[in-house]
Symmetry: C2
Subunit: 144 residues, 2 copies
Amino acid sequence: MEEAREVINELLVEIFHRILAIENEGLRQQGVSLSMSEVHVLEAISLVEEPSMTNIAQKIGITVGSLTTAINTLYQKKYVTRKYDPSDRRKVLIALEPIALEALQKHDDFHQRMIDAIFEDLHLAEDEVLIQSLKKVSGYFKKW
Amino acid sequence: MEEAREVINELLVEIFHRILAIENEGLRQQGVSLSMSEVHVLEAISLVEEPSMTNIAQKIGITVGSLTTAINTLYQKKYVTRKYDPSDRRKVLIALEPIALEALQKHDDFHQRMIDAIFEDLHLAEDEVLIQSLKKVSGYFKKW
DNA sequence: TCAAATATTTTGAACTTCAAACAATGGTAT
DNA sequence: ATACCATTGTTTGAAGTTCAAAATATTTGA
């Protein structure tokens, strides 16, 4: 049990930082001139049901004010457009431009390759215990 | 196999951000007036064999210039001291003050409690497959 | 209608980081 | 020794991220 704790702690502390760096690197290599946080915003826009500022900000976990500045630069870079919700004109709905979809696709591909590499290189077992445990941990943090 | 990939991808994408937020929150609650990045610097100092600027920066993955500014504020806050290596006066060796050790202890305690909660709440098995797999993934990213 | 609630933007500040320029010390080759 | 290059750190200027608080616009409900 002690060992399992140590390993998980290590994952939490060190590996996550490493992964962020890897992701940033991956973006640069693919000629995507966006930061990880910007990609994160685009990702949230594509995932959220109704892409209003509040919904997107909540999905990411930042304030709406912070999101506004992020969207401002993404708008300048032509990655997103704004329009007002006709049924509630207080709301601003964000839409992804084609170039944004391309960037997301590239990012997804990178992720896929990274995960493929992990599985191939490590010969990870298709083990029920592993999968179930990871699902538990994942679900746990989602609801924290 | 497909499911395992999805779960790992999810861990990488979403949970990571959540954990960072949780850690920041944990610090505030314990009355530690340091940011996560500052704690990260202190952690690196305590872990690295020879706490020179270059070694610490490398451990964290930032430039030495960035580390200098971080150390400047930690020095002002009395968390660290600087001294020159007598055998190579180009080197600056950083030492932790008692208050820094306290802060690290609090942070470790928080981590421990978080991990305890995970194990208790999720009834994670002390399973060899899980532990070995996590160790593999952890080691894999360390060397990426 | 008018006040309260909701949605977003603006502004000012703090923090993190980098790259490039600069300074000092150490090592090496002639 | 001297000259030069490499190593180690610091400073500086700029960019990016984030927040809180104030301001603006719209909707809703009494």
